[in-house]
C-alpha cells in the first residue's frame, strides 16, 4: 500500500516503557558507565533524581523508530534535529509520535516528532527529514 503523506498527516504513536533490563542493555551496548542510568541509590541520593535516568540518545532513537515504522520501507530518513529537554525515568510510560509538516513535489518530507511523558510534556522534540522512494 502506498504511503499517505500530506501536511497534517499524523504518524501512529508508539508507547515505550523503559525498564531496568532495557536500560542496562542499552548502556552496555553503548559502553556507557554513567551511574545515573543503572545505580539507583546514586541517582537518588547523590544526584537527587527520582529514579534512574532514561538515556537521552535512546529517546532520540525512538524518534527515528516511529518515523521508520510509518515509512514502512517506502522512504528513508535523511536527517534529524532533536534535543533532550526534560529528564525521564525508568518506570515512566513514554509516547513517541509525529506529524508531517511539509511535503515537496519531489517527495521530501518534514516531520515534527516528539516523545511525551505521562503528563503530556514534550520531553524530546525534534524534526526529521525523509525522502520517499521514487
Amino acid at each position: 500500500m502506498s504511503l499517505h503523506a500530506e501536511v497534517g498527516t499524523k504518524l501512529p504513536e508508539r508507547i515505550f516503557k523503559p525498564d531496568n533490563v532495557q536500560s542496562m542493555l542499552y548502556n552496555a551496548v553503548l559502553w556507557n558507565g554513567h551511574r545515573i542510568h543503572f545505580d539507583e541509590p546514586y541517582a537518588r541520593d547523590v544526584e537527587g533524581y527520582p529514579g534512574l535516568v532514561v538515556p537521552g540518545p535512546l529517546l532520540g532513537d525512538w524518534l527515528h523508530q516511529v518515523v521508520e515504522e510509518w515509512l514502512d520501507d517506502q522512504g528513508r530518513i535523511c536527517g534529524i534535529e532533536y534535543s533532550n529537554r526534560v529528564a525521564s525515568f525508568v518506570g515512566e510510560t513514554l509516547t513517541a509520535g509525529g506529524e508531517v509538516t511539509a511535503v515537496t513535489d519531489s517527495g521530501r518530507l518534514t516531520i515534527s516528532v516528539y516523545v511525551k511523558n505521562e503528563n503530556g510534556d514534550v520531553i524530546t522534540p525534534g524534526v526529521i527529514t525523509a525522502e520517499l522512494n521514487h
Binding site: 542493555l25 551496548v29 553503548l30 559502553w31 554513567h34 547523590v46 537521552g56 536527517g79 534529524i80 534535529e81
Partner: protein, 152 residues
C-alpha cells in the same frame, strides 16, 4: 550583565580535532543495538543493515576504568576545562548520507567547532558544538553529526 567567562585560552580550543578512530561494523553489534533500543524491524534485528544512530555505540569512547570519573563518565579530551560544569539539555543534528552494513570499516573524526556564551535571566550559559564526521574507506561521508551542549 554577566561577566565574560570564556578566556582566550578556552576560545583558542575552537578548531581542535580528535585523532581519527576506525571501527568495523558487525552483525552482532547491530543486533544488540536493535534489541536494546526496542526496534521492531526485522532487517535490524537480523543485523542485515544498521539502524539510524548505530554510529552512537560504534564510536562511544572506550577508556580504562581508572580514567572514568567517580560517576562513571569518560572525560572528553577534545574539550577544555570550562568555568561552568553542570551540563544541561543538549541537542543533536544528524545527516544520514549512506547506509551502513556489516563488514563496513568506518572512521570518525571529531572537531570542536564552536564555543560561545549567552547570558540568560538565570545567569551565564556556555554552549559548545562538536561535529563528528564518519567516512567509509573510500573517503565518502556516511554520517555527519553535530552535538550542541549547554553548561550552567
Amino acid at each position: 550583565m554577566s561577566e565574560q567567562l570564556l578566556t582566550q585560552e578556552i576560545l583558542d580550543c575552537i578548531g581542535r580535532t580528535s585523532e581519527p578512530r576506525r571501527e568495523i561494523v558487525t552483525r552482532r553489534d547491530i543486533r544488540k543495538y536493535a534489541v536494546a533500543t526496542g526496534n521492531r524491524q526485522q532487517k535490524y534485528l537480523n543485523g542485515d543493515v544498521a539502524p539510524p544512530m548505530f554510529h552512537v555505540p560504534l564510536f562511544w569512547d572506550i577508556v580504562e576504568l581508572d580514567q572514568l570519573t567517580p560517576d562513571g563518565v569518560s572525560i572528553d579530551t577534545l574539550l577544555p576545562k570550562f568555568p561552568l560544569e553542570k551540563a544541561m539539555a543538549g541537542g543533536l543534528e544528524i545527516e544520514y548520507l549512506k547506509p551502513i552494513y556489516p563488514g563496513d570499516w568506518l572512521t570518525s573524526t571529531r572537531t570542536l567547532t564552536d564555543i560561545y556564551q549567552k547570558n540568560g535571566r538565570s545567569g551565564a550559559l556556555i554552549f559548545y558544538e562538536v561535529v563528528m564526521e564518519i567516512r567509509n574507506d573510500d573517503g565518502e561521508l556516511v554520517i555527519r553529526e553535530k552535538t550542541t551542549r549547554i553548561l550552567r
